[in-house]
Symmetry: C2
Subunit: 325 residues, 2 copies
């Protein structure tokens, strides 16, 4: 399976690193909108200009598009699906139906395959929600994120005047998590599910009280949460907050039995030292599935819901039945 990486940020580098663990997968190259000579890859794979991508039409089995969901992917994925089997990690939940429709139209016209919204949420967490609701139709599910770094919230803090750098951790409220794990089905407000911990490096002489107030009152990002702000030095930030850990849990509590007398709890949880590396590794498994489906002549846009587990594995049907069932 010959893989192209389109875009070379954290996710693109994650795909390059994850290929090491997937011997059936060969990285053809990185395609960048920047000057290719200015981009140095982790493992020495070649870098090409994204302008020349069409020259690689017959040299790439699946193109992994590592762009942002806000403006990159809505353009890139439908456009590249005209010439390649593609996969992206589009994660703007509310705009998924619209993105799906545009990519599906492009991929059906070109008889290529596309898979959107791969990763862990959307992705593995979505599947966990679907399996759980299918096997426990009467119930309620909860998704908790963290403890982990939210890139979007960290960026929001960095845009505040007087802030040099920042890291924001999303943290599940322990009492909420315990109650749900114990089989309860509480109604939880936003504030009762997650809290936000901010580590901020301010400019010398900046008004710390004002920065803290601006963070805590920021609508959508922080105002609906219990937020803590701690000012630290740049050295502390680099020493203690270097990684990009994340994770979380999808938990569903459901009732079974003639009179609903049995409670069942299903939990799917992730604890990740590196969010982009794990996302990339998951995307590579879905790239394998897309490649298999393309060999069977399928076309159009898929999501993780449409992919049978067997197609993610490099093993044969006989092997997985004998060893994993």
């Amino acid at each position: 399976m010959r893989i192209g990486i389109y875009g070379y940020g954290n996710l693109g580098r994650g795909v390059e690193a994850a290929a090491k663990y997937n011997p059936d997968c060969e990285i053809v190259g990185v395609f960048t909108r920047r000057d290719p000579d200015a981009v140095k890859t982790l493992t020495g794979i070649p870098v090409y200009s994204s302008e020349n991508i069409l020259d690689y039409k017959d040299k790439i089995d699946v193109l992994i598009i590592c762009g942002g969901s806000a403006t990159d992917l809505p353009e890139m994925t439908p456009s590249l699906a005209k010439s390649f089997n593609v996969i992206d990690s589009f994660d703007t939940h509310a705009r998924i139906p619209e993105h799906f429709a545009r990519v599906d139209e492009a991929a059906k016209a070109s008889r290529k395959l596309a898979l959107i919204s791969a990763g862990w949420d959307p992705g593995l967490f979505s599947i966990a929600r679907l399996y759980a609701s299918a096997v426990l139709p009467e119930g309620k599910d909860y998704t908790f994120w963290g403890r982990g770094i939210s890139q979007g919230h960290s960026d929001a803090i960095r845009r505040i005047d007087g802030v040099l750098d920042a890291r924001q951790y999303t943290v599940p409220v322990p009492e909420a998590l315990s109650a749900v794990r114990a089989g309860e089905c509480p109604e939880l407000k936003t504030r009762e599910k997650h809290k936000r911990e901010c580590y901020v490096v301010a400019e010398d002489g900046a008004d710390l009280a004002r920065i803290e107030k601006e963070i805590k009152e920021m609508p959508n990002y922080f105002a609906d949460y219990d937020t803590t702000v701690e000012f630290i030095s740049m050295d502390e930030l680099r020493r203690d907050h270097r990684g990009m850990p994340h994770g979380g849990s999808v938990i569903r509590n459901g009732k079974l039995g003639l009179s609903g007398e049995s409670t069942c709890t299903i939990e799917y949880s992730l604890k990740l030292d590196s969010n982009p590396q794990f996302t990339a590794s998951t995307i590579l498994a879905y790239a394998r599935a897309i490649y298999k489906l393309s060999l069977r002549g399928e076309a159009g846009c898929k999501t993780v819901f449409d992919i049978a587990p067997a197609d993610l594995s490099p093993l044969s049907g006989e092997e997985i039945r004998a060893h994993l069932l």
Copy 2:
């Protein structure tokens, strides 16, 4: 979707109860090898003799075969796959390839669909192992069962001379579970993974020391485990050990990053008040998938690995993309 229940023990009753939570599913009837007049169903659905099952060939979309894996299913599933779409919960791991081959041959010849080994292990736990190994190729996974009742081990104790009744709980060893959850990859012997708790009602005047010794030294069942035996009264057994709880966890720890510097932990866990009710509810979701596949003209034997998550849901593709992705 019209469902037939073939065999009416704990699992068959579980399917009957689970239908209540699945409005798209209608139970046509129970088919039994016993005298139908002697079988009373929970919800009043009709009971027929299994001898007349072929009369219902056009009235049943999927037949759920609720028999034992030792002798029932190896005969029943291939035989019934000649006339029906069938689903079973065959759980003798070592004999799955052979069972699959026989059922596949029968179902392909009749152009029917079959799915074997549905439930939670084999079943949802198998899927958890497959997803985890696909997204974390370099790693090690662990399956812990319990705390929960093992029917097979309880039966083994009941066969000992002087025993009136018994319940055996399989319990993960807490230290092992904690180590694996913390991202470690220990090599664990059988004894280090699970312990066995036995609650036994003995006949009046029975030799308790002999019974305890026979349990603890029983090969395969108990000899390789740390086993505790507690003698209780029949009243205590009925009061405190009435249910059939079970559950467990599939945990995989894997490495990512160029030099394996990132650890990721994936855990899928179940906590079930009633093992047979949950198994039945899971089987019903897979019956829905088999029905959908049959409408698309597919045939042959499948396992949970071959079923895309979307096919388990009563919702449309648009609905699941909008609400669960």
